[in-house]
């Protein structure tokens, strides 16, 4: 059955791949990113916005509600990474990473869950990272922002369960996207060695977990964090 899916960070990488996959599967997709989208499809609507702008997020979510009447799935994919030693991390970078990764996720959950509460149904999927589970040196701020997302995922799963809304997170292993293009090869290889299954993640791996969370049969699955590649805390 066709679902109304709102996905952030939809213009490139995993986000773009997921939009194209959901459109191919017959769903209606609303995406947003700071830039324009190259996706042209009758079932796709794109908003150019910054997920940290409360005003813009509210306007988008209420606009989607007015046009489609409901939002079944929210995928909080928008995010930025920062690789740096703590000592050489500018405070402005730390604030920006927290803003986009944590505050943006909070805003989207808050506004979309208002729509989902009324329909007594919703699936929210957040993005974390194996860097959080590994306490990965060189990614202190990025990992901390995603640890905040994990805690938010689990606490909001408690608060929203009564409304039929599930909130879960996926923590991809390194996937070859823009996010890791600046990371030295030896660092990535060392990271892959720490996984039980020592390979890069793929877009298909990420899609598989998201579709599991989205499935109507997953209504008893909430507050869960799934890391890819055999990583655990």
């Amino acid at each position: 059955m066709s679902k109304i899916i709102l996905l952030t960070g939809s213009s490139k990488g995993i986000g773009k791949y997921l939009v194209e996959h959901f459109l191919d599967s017959g769903h209606i997709v609303i995406g947003c990113s700071r830039g324009e989208s190259a996706i042209i499809n009758d079932n796709y609507t794109h908003f150019t916005l910054d997920v940290t702008s409360e005003k813009d997020v509210i306007s988008m979510v209420r606009g989607v509600k007015k046009v489609h009447g409901r939002i079944d799935v929210l995928i909080n994919n928008a995010g930025v990474a920062s690789m740096n030693h703590l000592i050489t991390t500018p405070s402005a970078t730390a604030k920006k990473v927290m803003d986009i990764n944590f505050f943006g996720t909070f805003l989207l959950i808050r506004e979309v869950s208002k729509v989902m509460m009324k329909q007594k149904y919703g699936r929210i999927v957040n993005f974390t990272t194996v860097a959080s589970a590994f306490r990965l040196e060189g990614e202190a701020i990025y990992a901390a922002s995603k640890a905040a997302v994990e805690n938010l995922t689990q606490t909001t799963s408690n608060e929203l369960a009564i409304f039929g809304i599930t909130v879960n997170a996926i923590g991809p292993a390194p996937v070859e996207t823009d996010l890791i293009k600046a990371v030295p090869k030896n660092k990535i290889n060392a990271l892959l060695e720490r996984q039980a299954i020592k390979r890069f993640g793929s877009f298909e791996d990420v899609k598989n977990v998201i579709e599991f969370y989205m499935d109507d049969k997953s209504d008893f699955i909430t507050g869960q964090i799934i890391y890819l590649g055999g990583v655990y805390k």
């Binding site: 409360e54 509210i58 509460m117």
Partner: protein, 99 residues
Amino acid sequence: MKLKEKIEKLIVEAVLELNKDIKKSELHSPNKETKLYGGNATLDSLSLVGLIVDVEERISDELDMDIVLADERAMSRTSSPFRTVETLANYIEELINKD
């Protein structure tokens, strides 16, 4: 109708809608003095959340204004803007005028 009266009307409609679910005798005929939250008022925090979501949507649909009823004092039993229909209407009017 003045803005304040329109807001109070929207809140009363939202309270009546909410009361279809929670069925509280104190909320059968709400008016501006009706107690909502805090002290010996009727709503628990979960019902308050439902009311807030409905009022925000009505303001957006009927007044074409996007406001957020989030406030540090929301869950306070003494200074919450959600104490009565009237305090809530005052609070919403303040938010609208601030924009």
